[in-house]
């Protein structure tokens, strides 16, 4: 053994690490980072005083209020309905379950404009539901309820699809253990099942909320877009852009971006918490 031994270098098992990482990072830079950066720069261009003036104008404040309120309503609805849907899809066997499961993706796949159009047609005064609701004294179209409805429609899969896998992965022995210890169904749900899916459920709701804040296509058809009443923030940004008021559009968009980032971080924190708690007991 005379040959000088070269230092041992671990060989990568998967080839193409540099190439694939480089490609994805480049893509991310062009598609996500640069546009976001441009938006931030555009917004910063005008200085804090002007920025504040734009975002605190009565019309902008009203738009943010409408957007947030409707998103909260939509998210509360989805939190309940989405959880129920996930529960039904995981826990029961019935005919057409797979079709129902596939239908859950329709809001993802459907062009939002199509969703907006069909919701408007259904809920307008001469639509199927609209007529009935009108008679009951409830107007959906051109009100905040319409906005919330459109938001709920497009964001419900986020709740279902985050809760579903966690519920599926739950060890049935956990519930059986609770049964043998004397727990009644409600106690099993509140003390065993719900805590297990809580992080995923919260994360799903957060993503659904973020999606609702940014929803545009489905809403503009049903909202009526009355400035100060049913005009959402994304639409206001769009209108400013149409008026060649780039700074105004950027300022409003920046506020939305801020919301989205905060929610994204929150969602990730919740997911982290979730994975920590799901750490195997098996």
């Amino acid at each position: 053994m005379t040959a000088a031994t070269a230092p041992i270098r671990a060989k990568r098992v998967m080839p193409g690490f540099t190439l694939s990482l480089g490609t994805t990072l480049l893509y991310l830079t062009f598609i996500v980072l640069i546009p976001v950066l441009a938006l931030v720069l555009k917004g910063a261009e005008i200085g804090p005083a002007r920025f504040w003036q734009i975002v605190s104008s009565p019309r902008a404040v009203a738009a943010f209020q409408v957007t947030l309120t409707a998103a909260v309503i939509a998210t509360i609805f989805n939190a309940v309905y989405g959880l129920l849907m996930a529960w039904v899809l995981v826990r029961y066997e019935f005919r057409g379950k797979r079709i129902l499961d596939a239908l859950m993706d329709v809001p993802f796949a459907l062009p939002t404009a199509v969703a907006g159009l069909s919701l408007t047609a259904l809920f307008s005064a001469n639509g199927w539901f609209g007529g009935v609701l009108e008679a009951a004294g409830l107007q959906v179209v051109y009100t905040i309820w319409g906005i919330a409805l459109a938001m709920a429609f497009t964001s419900v899969p986020f709740v279902v699809r985050t809760v579903q896998p966690v519920l599926e992965d739950m060890d049935p022995a956990l519930e059986q253990a609770a049964i043998t210890l004397g727990a009644r169904p409600w106690a099993i749900f509140t003390r065993v099942v719900f805590p297990a899916i809580l992080p995923a459920w919260l994360a799903g709701c957060t993503t659904a909320f973020a999606r609702s804040l940014g929803e545009f296509g489905a809403i503009v058809f049903i909202a009526g877009n009355l400035p100060g009443r049913t005009e959402i923030a994304a639409l206001l940004a769009f209108i400013r852009l149409e008026e060649f008021d780039y700074n105004g559009a950027a300022a409003i968009a920046l506020v939305l971006l801020g919301f989205a980032l905060v929610l994204l971080v929150l969602s990730n924190l919740l997911q982290n918490w979730a994975s920590k708690h799901r750490e195997a007991t098996r």
Binding site: Q176, A177, L181, G182, A183
Partner: protein, 369 residues
């Protein structure tokens, strides 16, 4: 609490999981349900727990019909194979669960529950783990917590599903002794399921051997070991070599076999089969004998010889490697087989259970050694 099970059957789809189970367990007894996977032992345990329901049969505990009783009302302690601890609760909360979940009228006060949990934590020697979460515990520790959680409700019957299945051999032995102690201290009626005979025999007062949905034999370790009631039990107990013999006046005879060491059996004359453990076969070199050694493998202490007979096929024999005569036992040597012990069954005895137990499957578990 004494448990009476009679004529119990259960099907899953097209499979008969239980095919008529009759079993009675005395108050304070520690019973093992022993059998290979698919023998129905876990299903039987879950029926006693109320987590599964039989298609027919009776289950009475102290003369109370438990098939009319929901699992919640049976007051059983069930320890799951993978413990099923609640991952989002601390050890303390896990153990307290069964008490804190009771309806308000029956629920003990907070301080009573806390005291009970503390007592159990000390009794099970896990007081230092009280505030940890299941994810932070080792397998053996989880096992103790799971048992603590089950004992907290002061169960009438304690049921354990493969309690040591997921643990290392050394920890298993410790926990076995410890569980025996817990059983004696609490005085509960205990039934546990296992596929490990060593575990069953060491721990249980009585062992119930199950195969393919039927009880094959009930008894103590020695009786089951020396006098297996059916070919299935014999094979499950390690007698994997199946040799055809002929019986005459209680004496067995077979091709190339020396059966002088076997006791006479009160069985009718004619064709029979002999089930033998490989370690009860001693090959003796004999130029005229029909058996030939094919392979010879050593695990250090023992030689495992694979033998072949032109008509009967293969058989295996275990010989101590240091034995003087072992030197002559080399491949291609012809030998006759001296049988030191074994069980003879009539040829036509129905073989329960062997249906889905392939002949080549070693029923003795290597992991238990």
């Amino acid at each position: 609490m004494s448990i009476q099970i009679s004529a119990m059957t259960k099907r899953f789809g097209k499979t008969d999981v239980l095919r008529g189970i009759d079993l009675s367990v005395q108050k304070g007894e520690l019973v093992a349900l022993l059998g290979p996977s698919g023998s129905g032992k876990t299903t039987l345990l879950k029926i006693i727990a109320g987590l599964e329901w039989p298609d027919a049969g009776q289950l009475a505990v102290e003369d109370q019909d438990w098939l009319q009783l929901a699992a919640q009302d049976r007051r059983i302690g069930f320890v799951f194979q993978h413990y099923a601890l609640f991952p989002h609760m601390s050890v303390r909360d896990n153990i307290a669960f069964g008490l804190s979940v009771r309806p308000r009228a029956e629920r003990p006060g907070k301080s009573v529950i806390a005291a009970k949990v503390d007592e159990l934590l000390h009794f099970l020697q896990i007081a230092h783990l009280a505030d940890r979460y299941p994810g932070q515990l080792s397998g053996g520790q989880r096992q103790r917590v799971a048992l603590g959680r089950a004992l907290a409700i002061e169960p009438k019957v304690l049921l354990l599903d493969e309690p040591f299945g997921a643990l290392d051999a050394a920890i298993r032995r410790d926990l076995r002794r410890w569980l025996r102690g817990v059983h004696e201290a609490t005085g509960s009626t205990t039934i546990f399921v296992t596929h490990d005979q060593e575990e069953a025999f060491e721990l249980a007062d009585r062992v119930v051997v199950m195969g393919a949905g039927k009880i094959e034999q009930i008894g103590h370790a020695d009786a089951i070991h020396d006098h297996p009631a059916t070919p299935f039990v014999a094979r499950f107990m390690g007698a994997t070599v199946d040799l055809p013999v002929t019986l005459q006046a209680g004496r067995a005879d077979g091709a190339g076999l020396d059966l002088t060491a076997l006791a006479r059996r009160a069985l009718p004359d004619g064709a029979a089969r002999l089930l033998v453990r490989p370690q009860d076969i001693t090959p003796v070199p004999d130029a005229d004998a029909p058996w030939r050694i094919v392979t010879r493998m050593s695990n250090g202490a023992h030689l495992r010889l694979v033998l072949i007979h032109p008509d009967l096929g293969e058989a295996e024999a275990d010989v101590p490697r240091r034995a003087v005569k072992a030197e002559a036992l080399i491949p291609d040597a012809t030998v006759r087989l001296k049988i030191e012990g074994g069980t003879i069954f009539p040829r036509d005895q129905p073989q329960h259970a062997t249906v889905d137990t392939p002949k080549t499957t070693p029923t003795r578990l290597e992991s238990s050694r």
